[in-house]
């Protein structure tokens, strides 16, 4: 924890954050990749051959939430 605080504790300035976001997007573009937007994701077709049911997906999320509570 001490190491993380020492390495990452300082909040960046907004100017620096803007530069880093621009750099990140430039890196993605340079790799020929495209970060999808929420609208693109929601509009993409369902393509699963073995989708969970809605109930199973909720159970899947419950497992994650339970683990967080146990370890909190």
């Amino acid at each position: 924890v001490a190491t993380a605080e020492a390495d990452f504790g300082a909040e960046p300035s907004e100017e620096l954050a803007v530069q880093r976001r621009a750099h990140y997007l430039a890196q993605v573009r340079a790799q020929g990749e495209h970060l999808r937007t929420g609208a693109e994701i929601l509009a993409s077709p369902r393509d699963s051959a073995d989708p969970p049911s809605d109930e199973e997906l909720l159970a899947f999320l419950d497992v994650i939430y339970d683990a967080r509570r146990v370890d909190a």
Binding site: A4, E11, P12, E14, R20, Y24, L57, A67, R68
Partner: protein
């Protein structure tokens, strides 16, 4: 027209989008307002949680692979991060690319994405259900 700032999704938001797409349902309007035009990304933490959830629920290999493929392809998570997340899902802890070890509940609990956004030094904007 400038591109909106990219957003780092937490596990809850990524799951909402996964579920909405899977069942062709409307996502909450307030959330859509935040993420619709933003390029989106997820962290290795979310991949770890999703992997853990699938393993715990004993999902089939196909179902697990499809879910992880959606996450990695959609959000451009790097393959190395995926391997790390899947390998570590069983004991719920993993290392980032620099060898820094995270025990994910301590990171996820109460503000995972904000914490990660800070760790990334402002690289991404945090988007959470509370946003």
């Amino acid at each position: 027209v400038s591109t909106p700032d990219p957003a780092l999704l937490d596990t809850d938001v990524a799951s909402v989008l996964y579920r909405a797409r899977l069942f062709q349902r409307m996502a909450p309007a307030r959330l859509v307002g935040v993420v619709a035009d933003r390029p989106l990304a997820i962290s290795v933490i979310t991949l770890g949680e999703a992997s853990y959830g699938a393993l715990s629920r004993k999902w089939s290999v196909r179902r697990t692979a499809e879910m992880l493929a959606f996450y990695t392809d959609t959000y451009l998570a790097r393959s190395a991060a995926v391997v790390t997340a899947v390998d570590s899902a069983g004991h719920r802890g993993f290392h980032d690319g620099d060898g820094q070890r995270f025990r994910w509940p301590s990171v996820c609990g109460g503000g995972e994405t904000r914490t990660l956004a800070r760790l990334l030094k402002g690289c991404l904007v945090a988007a959470t259900l509370a946003a």
